[in-house]
């Protein structure tokens, strides 16, 4: 595993940075938020990103993808994370797309992956419930056998990009108790299935999400992704990949928040001096910088380990998510504090990053959850 960008990766990174600067400054995110549109991103820009090949990065060529890895996707996500671009990579490329790629039947892949890679279909995973916290196996939504297929009932919360999704991959319990790893199925449910209700939710970071209510939704047997009852393990694999991708996006966000703060420290005067000359602030800035450098290494290691199917990949994903969660929160807390009063106003961008940091921290497990998982994987 080489922790250095290849020339190709450098090129992708540069293209993505240029694209973000031109088409997706933070002001665009602010406008989308102010507009209050539940879709929350620009389908047009999403299509452009797909045309640039980014949406298809981790999919095989036969489905219109570039057959590259998370290592390549990560540099795109980092660049977009810098300006809080809200396009649906997490929901569609990482969650929905990876679930279909890793667990889907040939027919399912043929039906959906080309549309995803082309930027034309949104497929998200509905895995979270009101009391599941970070436990992927805490599934109370029921899947009862019915007419050779299944009948699904329950409620999923904060389903990412639910308002724009063409289909949902819904985890539901076929058998077993509420927190058992076994007995969970993953079901492909098109958005127009009878008995589905999508209620848009407004989150603190203003990224699109929604409640998904399933009121006796009937799906055929071939709607199951992977083996029935064995989606527990599939979900873990998928969420590991999505977590690594989220970490790359977080890395971009925390670096941008730090850059904003550094600029402020070099421009803002107080008591006749630039505040960046105050030693206490300097040392704290160095501590933030240190955390960002460490975070970068862990993100690079996690995506490379996943690409290589390395045995310690899950452990490295936890290393990355624990660090990125803490580092992003630290960078934005320090950012707002060093900006002072104006950092508390909606007018300044630093607050967006603070909100995004917390939303990302609480997605796929916070730092404490991943420290515990890391220890468990290490046998203690």
């Amino acid at each position: 595993m080489q922790l250095v960008l290849s020339e190709d990766q450098e090129l992708i990174a540069k293209t993505a940075a240029d694209f973000a600067a031109e088409h997706s400054p933070v002001s665009r995110f602010r406008e989308l938020r102010d507009a209050g549109d539940p879709i929350g991103y620009s389908p047009k820009l999403w299509k452009e990103m797909a045309d640039l090949g980014w949406v298809g990065i981790p999919f095989p060529e036969e489905y219109g993808g570039a057959d590259l890895g998370l290592s390549e996707l990560a540099v795109v996500l980092e660049a977009l994370g810098r300006s809080l671009a809200p396009e649906p990579f997490l929901s569609t490329v990482l969650l929905g797309g990876q679930a279909l790629l890793l667990g889907g039947s040939d027919a399912q892949k043929k039906d959906w992956l080309p549309g995803i890679a082309a930027g034309e279909k949104i497929v998200t995973v509905a895995y979270q419930e009101a009391t599941s916290r970070f436990d992927l196996h805490a599934v109370e939504t029921r899947a009862e056998a019915a007419d050779g297929g299944y009948r699904l009932s329950g409620e999923k919360i904060q389903v990412l990009d639910a308002p724009s999704a063409d289909a949902f991959l819904v985890s539901a319990r076929i058998s077993g108790e509420a927190r058992d790893a076994a007995g969970i199925g993953l079901f492909l449910v098109p958005k127009d299935a009878a008995g589905i209700t999508v209620v848009p939710q407004t989150r603190v970071d203003h990224r699109a999400a929604g409640l998904l209510r399933l009121d006796g939704v009937v799906v055929p047997a071939d709607a199951v992704v992977g083996e029935p009852g064995e989606a527990g393990a599939l979900l873990e694999r998928v969420v590991d990949r999505a977590t690594a991708g989220l970490c790359a996006e977080m890395l971009g966000g925390m670096c941008q928040a730090f850059d904003l703060t550094l600029t402020h420290l070099k421009e803002r005067e107080q008591f006749g001096s630039l505040i960046g000359s105050f030693q206490a602030l300097k040392h704290r800035a160095v501590d933030v910088f240190t955390e960002l450098e460490l975070a970068r290494s862990t993100v690079m290691a996690a995506v490379r380990a996943l690409d290589a199917d390395a045995p310690d990949a899950s452990s490295l994903v936890s290393v990355a998510k624990a660090r990125c969660s803490d580092a992003y929160v630290l960078a934005t807390n320090e950012g707002v504090q060093m900006f002072g009063g104006v950092g508390m106003t909606d007018e300044y961008d630093i607050g967006f990053y603070m909100k995004r940091a917390r939303a990302a921290e609480l997605t796929f497990g916070d730092a404490a959850f991943h420290r515990d998982r890391f220890a468990r994987l290490a046998g203690y």
Binding site: Q201, Q270, F271, A280, G341, E347
Partner: protein, 398 residues
């Protein structure tokens, strides 16, 4: 002593007889309380009657002299009054910057005429006050203020902008620091002045915070004519007045966080169990969260014991000890940690901005967390506080 117990029984009877029954037991925190002023819309009609009755008896400002609308009570009597009010669960008739900030300042620095003009209107809740100190670009460096006051005979003509004026959109008058001598050294050349916000040239725009609320405003002055008789203490002598007032503000903030802590304590553990469950022994199921909660509650306990130590020492006649210098800093940082822990406890349920899918109490956690980030900035940043303690308490060199 005999007099005190007599006063206790008298005032107790009066409170029982006069407080409207629909107000009994209502908890009104400093934020939600009856601030008074021309624009005041009480939550309950009876609040207005209660205010009037108390004002007539001098109970809105119990220790102020009676000639200015106060109650003329000594400290011991005032303590009895507050004990009785707590015992009978009677809410305060009036709160606000008039009573806690500009009133005491006028008593200390004002002319007889100024006292007679403003204090009675404060005690009756007719005028709501706000504070005009900070400016865009000045931040922690208060003395760098730029709002100009140009001498024009019997008046000053004031131009400039104040930020972080709390509730300026609801206030009638503002007490402000303005620069009367642009050539003097920073802290000299500043004057403390009272401005009627109805005067031509005053305008207010609320500031939207990251938490979604707007407790603060920007207040603009465009050639506002203010009579020189509104200057408190000397022209160019405003820094002395401001310092006296600032010290007072910081201890108020510290008190708010210090005393607020105790009430929520039981709730934290119970709420945590609601979100992450309990183990077979009935303990909070997530041990990492449990330790974090224990650390927070332990620190909260240590902090309120320290506030108590300071109070007990004062009661015993000692001068304020060095411990009081840390209250603002530690209290606000503690509150931030409490809010962050609540967010961690709620997990993904703390990510709501609006319904549906989030309970009201959950949405409050999110907003309170965001709001708490300002605690270590407003009223003197934690950095400024540490500079002050290093210099004044520890005697470290510049």
């Amino acid at each position: 002593m005999a007099d005190l117990s007599k006063y206790r029984s008298e005032i107790g009877s009066w409170l029982e007889a006069n407080c409207p029954s629909d107000l009994l037991g209502l908890s009104m925190t400093a934020i939600e309380g009856p601030w008074g002023g021309k624009k005041w819309v009480p939550d309950y009609d009876s609040q207005r009657a209660w205010l009037e009755r108390c004002a007539d008896k001098g109970l809105t400002a119990p220790t102020w002299p009676t000639e200015y609308g106060g109650g003329g009570l000594d400290k011991a009597e005032a303590k009895v009054l507050s004990q009785e009010m707590r015992r009978l669960r009677v809410p305060p008739p009036l709160i606000g910057f008039g009573l806690t900030m500009i009133g005491p300042t006028l008593l200390q620095f004002g002319t007889e005429e100024q006292k007679r003009e403003h204090l009675p209107r404060i005690t009756r809740g007719e005028i709501r006050w706000c504070q005009g100190y900070s400016e865009p670009g000045a931040g922690s460096d208060l003395a760098a203020l730029q709002t100009r006051a140009v001498d024009d005979g019997d008046a000053f003509v004031i131009s400039g902008t104040k930020v972080w004026t709390s509730y300026a959109d609801k206030a009638d008058w503002i007490f402000a620091l303005v620069r009367t001598d642009p050539d003097a050294k920073k802290q000299e050349g500043i004057t403390f002045i009272l401005i009627d916000m109805d005067d031509p040239g005053v305008s207010v725009s609320p500031i939207l915070l990251i938490s979604g609320s707007s407790p603060f405003c920007e207040t603009h002055f465009e050639d506002v004519r203010v009579p020189k008789s509104n200057v408190i203490a000397q022209i160019n002598g405003g820094w002395t007045v401001a310092k006296a007032l600032l010290g007072h503000e910081r201890s108020m903030i510290a008190e708010t966080f210090g005393t607020g802590a105790g009430q929520r304590r039981q709730t934290m553990a119970d709420r945590a169990k609601g979100y992450v469950g309990a183990d077979a022994e009935g303990r909070l199921a997530d041990p990492a969260l449990r330790e974090r909660l224990a650390q927070l509650e332990l620190d909260t306990r240590a902090f309120s014991l320290t506030v108590q130590r300071s109070t007990d020492a004062a009661k015993a006649g000692h001068n304020p000890g060095p411990e009081s210098s840390i209250f603002k800093m530690y209290g606000t940082e503690l509150n931030q940690r409490r809010q962050e822990l609540l967010v961690s406890m709620l997990g993904p349920n703390a990510l709501g901005w609006e319904g549906p899918g989030f309970e009201e109490a959950e949405l409050s956690v999110t907003r309170d967390w965001l709001r708490s980030r300002g605690n270590t900035i407003e009223g003197g940043t934690s950095e400024v506080q540490r500079n002050i303690v290093a210099k004044r308490v520890l005697g470290l060199p510049d």
